[in-house]
Symmetry: C2
Subunit: 383 residues, 2 copies
């Protein structure tokens, strides 16, 4: 079992109606003014905007709005948020939305407290030593950003999608009310399921030693994610299914799942980020294209764990069937499983491999993931 | 799925040789003087005492020793620790040992900062609002105290074994080196396994709704605890088995396992605490006596979950077989499974029920666990 350090100080408040507590929570933490970060109209449609504003006003919390966060949050908009937060001297960031809103909120929180180009932190792995506190009300369960120290931003000028990681960007409090996800569309639920599975499957399959405890934990998460997604697609307002999915997606990337696993990494995310940067495709869609291809390529490098996966998730004795069944399931729930499905041309593969290779360099994975290997994997995503 | 709040700020440092970092960690946190709490000679035998002292000295950390903590830590010794910590004006508590040492250390940390009889906090559920920071080096994996906000102390005068619960007593840092548990005896490993299983099985079986995610997580923990214990009993120095067991025991009671479970409680711990207070039996031994009896009594109140347990842990279709197989396994690893096994007389049952009932009142479980019910359960522990 590999040595590790684990620390996760985010406070989770989970359940019906919990979003109403936001003003009281901020007041309790002596926060006087927040930057209220959100996307477009989704939080207004479900009445959440009004609930948040009421709760803030009732508790005397001032707020400045920063809306219009894109599904793949972009650097230019993030920089606008940083300037706004500085101008209005906010004490904290309140991110109300899904992973994109949270990631942009976290990045703003870093930008406000550090007088340097924010992109430096992404590009050069510079250590983050301070940030404003971040509070979250989650409306899309998928990325796990509500309980981790990661943020992903796309630099639309350079077409780079990169991430930061720091203990200073764990949200202080994250409010998770499954009812707020009732309106997440079938399409986005599918992408969310792919993303959550990707978060646990990467180290599980790519590590050279996975403690059985962790294998079992991860398999339990995958089964719950699949089961609850199937229920949600039929019954979008099934509270228990939404709740179990929501908590599964959070736990999938709060650091627990990969503890003690030796080696491994996020190669699928790496390639998916390249697709996201180049085509502005939803993150889950990128992952469902990449994962089956990567699995085919990696299969014989870790056969026993692939066999375990096939057996415990799909009740199959053949490792290959595990891969094909997962691919079929992605397809069934409505997520693309090939470059063609997403309208990406075969001739683009070189360009995608080039972009992914640049991420591999930043992530220090370029020795394994050479341009040639990346091309080989991407070609397996073309059927 | 039940609403919940989750918060666990303990930093875990897990792996070989990690205990050497203690001085550096304390120095980094600007701690100048600690109360060094430990048991008897165990930490000296394995060289840990010397390692800790060296690390403290190298980093200029002063320390005052408070040794002699008993396996069921007692109030009188805890009070001595509080006085010592006050006299020497320590900044933190360093607990080096198993759950008993940590629990006494946590209680001392509360006592130093609150000028009132420490037993009041146990007896009357008084809210704890401050405590010294607690640092831990774990030498026996079992209770999970290294990553939670609980502490259990026995008042030997009144024969009461009660607990406190507070966010202020989560250890700030817990160092977990599986090698430090190599010398834990087969007997104590058995008790440890029972305790860790008890921590997850209680809510799993007694809750009225258990999300599948949580059932799967708990079943994975139970399987890993059983598997690794069997390896450890044969190969005490098997690092991976000790490591997986250690982390399983920590996760079993760090708050995660019972999130979202509706209802449920710790009835087995309640009765086991009564046995512990009256007979000074090891906690795990008390639990292995109580659990099969309680399961027999509770079986028809939550049959589907007992069936699930039998199926997923023992591959059996019959709920009753799940209970009997668990009892046999406890016996096989060397933990007592009846009052007789522990030399407790049938005529003592009334007295034990009386003691347990008093805990039930403090825990607000006395409506279900009347003296009559407790007697009925205890009688099932007499074969």
């Amino acid at each position: 079992m590999e040595s590790f350090e684990f620390f996760n100080p985010t406070r989770i408040i989970f359940g019906r109606g919990t979003e109403k507590k936001i003003g009281e929570i901020l007041k309790g933490d002596k926060i006087g003014k927040v930057l209220f970060v959100y996307g477009k109209s989704a939080i207004k449609k479900i009445g959440l905007y009004d609930t948040v504003v009421s709760s803030l006003k009732e508790n005397g919390i001032e707020f400045v709005e920063h809306s219009g966060v894109k599904p793949n949050p972009v650097l230019s908009h993030t920089k606008e948020g940083i300037e706004k937060a500085k101008d209005y001297k906010v004490d904290a960031v309140l991110a109300v939305g899904g992973g994109s809103v949270i990631d942009e909120g976290k990045t703003i929180a870093v930008g406000v407290k550090n007088n340097r180009d924010i992109w430096d932190f992404f590009k050069r792995n510079i250590e983050i030593k301070k940030a404003l506190p971040v509070y979250v009300i989650l409306t899309v369960a998928a990325t796990g950003s509500e309980m981790n120290g990661f943020a992903v931003i796309t630099n639309e000028e350079t077409q780079e999608k990169l991430s930061i990681s720091s203990e200073y960007i764990f949200p202080k409090v994250s409010i998770l009310n499954p009812e707020l996800t009732f309106s997440v569309s079938a399409q986005y639920q599918a992408y969310a399921a792919v993303d959550a599975i990707a978060h646990v499957i990467e180290h599980y399959l790519s590590g050279s030693y996975c403690p059985k405890l962790q294998s079992r934990f991860i398999e339990g998460l995958i089964k719950s994610i699949m089961e609850t997604t199937e229920i949600i697609l039929k019954e979008p307002k099934n509270y228990n299914a939404r709740a179990e999915f929501m908590w599964s997606a959070t736990v999938a990337l709060n650091g627990l799942a990969r503890l003690g696993i030796k080696g491994g990494g996020f190669p699928n995310h790496m390639i998916a980020h390249a697709l996201g940067a180049l085509y502005d495709l939803p993150h889950g869609a990128c992952l469902s294209i990449v994962i089956p291809a990567w699995m085919r390529w990696y299969l014989d490098k870790n056969l026993p764990q692939f066999e375990r996966f096939a057996r415990n998730i799909f009740n199959s004795d053949k490792a290959e069937e595990g891969i094909e069944n997962l691919k079929s399931w992605f397809k069934k729930i409505g997520s693309p499983v090939s470059l063609k499905d997403a309208g990406i041309l075969y001739k683009d593969i070189d360009m995608i491999a080039e972009n992914a290779y640049n991420i591999a360099i930043v992530w220090q994975m370029e020795k394994t993931y050479t341009k040639q290997v990346l091309t080989e994997i991407l070609k397996k995503a073309d059927d």
